[in-house]
């Protein structure tokens, strides 16, 4: 059995990424994600990988995309202010179908905000921060162990679907230290590629599952990558039919694989009349609150989306069928709560617990809403 070691969330994220095959990291220092850069700088050269500290956040994601098109699994990490800056090239990676993991260790905002305080205020930015319609996958860990295991999952999804995946961490988990058992083996998925490619093979012709297979730059398939809408050869087009088909394929390649991508955790939901909806670091307060409620005889459960985007519509609807009240707890003014409302409709009572002052939502605050007579 693997040994349990004490590890910080940010460090576990790097170890998971390396286990998944990350061999390139480009970043810029920013609290509270800096340890991800620091640990990458130490660890990557030891496993034959590469680390570079770029001149800014935009350059960091651009550099990581560059490494990825050359065939190397790459990652960049940041926090809110830097995530704002990365949006430009996040959209590029979506459209150009470049596998990439972007970590956002959320902190209090807006703007420079409270750099060392927790927040979950970037949930909607993760989905809509970059302009235009685009698909996105975002995943939120709620323990140090998950920083490791879900970092692996982020890479696997990025590779499988040739798309950027956002690892939506938060300060609570990023700076938390816990004991974790490092898995001895993890499943590693590599991007669809082409052996002995013909120089003129259309790189963006989708193969299985609407996902294109293309060789990394330098292996003989001399293709073009662009941030303009393009045809299957990868060249820009103004043909509206081709443009529309491309964006549709990008959306469908994620939508069609919803079941593979969406993951949730349900606790005590079998007989629950009250459910707490939470994700990421907030789940720790919620789990304590739910356990206390159960001890008090309240039929209370917990629903935690691990995949934030795409939103777990199907699972949430099913899980909440017999629930009368949903307590939504998130460290923001109310972001995912509106998704919950959209999915469950108006016949459930929805209580919201939010925080925007940089303090942590406590179990007591959630418990009060669980116990509140409606």
């Amino acid at each position: 059995m693997a040994k349990t070691v004490l590890m910080q969330g940010n460090e576990a994220c790097v170890e998971g990424a390396i286990a998944a095959g990350m061999r390139f990291y480009a970043g810029y220092p920013i609290t509270p994600s800096t340890e991800i850069a620091e640990v990458s700088a130490v660890r990557l050269p030891k496993v034959g990988g590469k680390f570079i500290q770029m001149e800014d956040e935009i350059a960091s994601i651009a550099c990581a995309i560059g490494a990825s098109v050359a065939g190397v699994k790459s990652m960049t990490a940041t926090s809110g202010p830097g995530f704002s800056l990365k949006q430009e090239n996040l959209g590029y990676a979506c459209l150009a179908e470049v596998p990439l993991v972007v970590v956002d260790v959320q902190r209090s905002g807006p703007s420079t905000g409270l750099p060392t305080s927790p927040s979950q205020g970037d949930v909607m930015m993760a989905k809509w921060g970059t302009h235009g319609d685009h698909p996105i996958i975002a995943i939120a860990p709620s323990s140090v162990k998950e920083c490791y295991t879900l970092a692996v999952r982020c890479f696997n999804l990025a590779e499988k679907y040739r798309t950027p995946v956002i690892f939506l961490m938060d300060e609570i988990i990023g700076h938390l230290r816990e004991g974790i058992e490092i898995p001895e083996n993890v499943e590693v998925i590599n991007r669809p590629t082409v052996e002995n490619p013909h120089p003129k093979r259309p790189a963006y012709a989708p193969t299985d599952n609407l996902i294109p297979a293309m060789a990394p730059f330098g292996e003989g398939q001399r293709y073009n990558i662009t941030g303009l809408l393009h045809d299957e050869s990868g060249f820009p087009t103004n043909d509206t039919k081709i443009a529309g088909d491309l964006v549709t394929r990008l959306m469908k390649k994620i939508e069609n694989n919803y079941d593979d991508i969406v993951e949730v955790e349900e606790t005590h939901m079998e007989d629950a009349e009250v459910a707490v909806f939470c994700f990421g670091g907030t789940a720790r307060a919620a789990s304590s609150a739910v356990e206390t409620a159960r001890k008090k005889g309240i039929k209370c459960g917990m629903f935690r989306p691990i995949t934030i985007w795409p939103f777990a519509d199907k699972e949430l609807k099913e899980a909440m069928k017999n629930v009368k009240k949903i307590v939504v707890a998130e460290h923001n003014w109310g972001q995912l709560v509106n998704e919950v409302r959209r999915v469950v409709g108006n016949d459930k009572i929805i209580e919201f617990v939010g925080k925007i002052d940089g303090t942590v939502i406590t179990p007591d605050e959630i418990l009060a809403k669980i116990e509140k007579e409606d």
């Binding site: 349990t4 004490l6 060392t116 938390l176 230290r177 816990e178 720790r284």
Partner: protein, 181 residues
Amino acid sequence: MSQMEIRLAGSGGQGIILATVILAEAAVIAGKHTAQSQSYGPEARGGACKAEVIVSDEEIGFTKVRTPSFLMALTQKSLDKYSANLPADCLVLIDDTLTAPDSIKNNKVVKLPILHTAAEKVGKLMTANIVAVAAINGLLNIVDDESLKTAVFMHIPKGTEALNQKALEEGLSLIKKGENI
């Protein structure tokens, strides 16, 4: 022990965060569940900083200290800042140079010469955090001495083993002597 909620406070640069990391490391070595976190302002040195560690026999949900079972403070500023609203059964350890504020008049307060011991007996003030973890473990019996020593040695620079061994011994002896307890 079911769950211990430990809060350490001091000034940036005293190694308060490291002290909680060492306690957490020791807890992992001893096979316990633990959650360590910290809160701090923009100062790397000075200011008042707080670090927490929860040690439990069971899985830990909420990772922050809610009802501290133990508080240690090494500076007056951090003691005044972080000693408000402590539960009555919270044990408080303060450096003997500090004055206990009214807010903890109902708590059991232990005063120990942690800073003095580090500076004079060990010979380096910067070992105060190691003196402290030994004293804390002596008071609370969180882990066995060997686990604590292993944890300390995992987190100190090479070449400082003898110094830190001395700090551990001096820290523990503060409890064994039973002065002021």
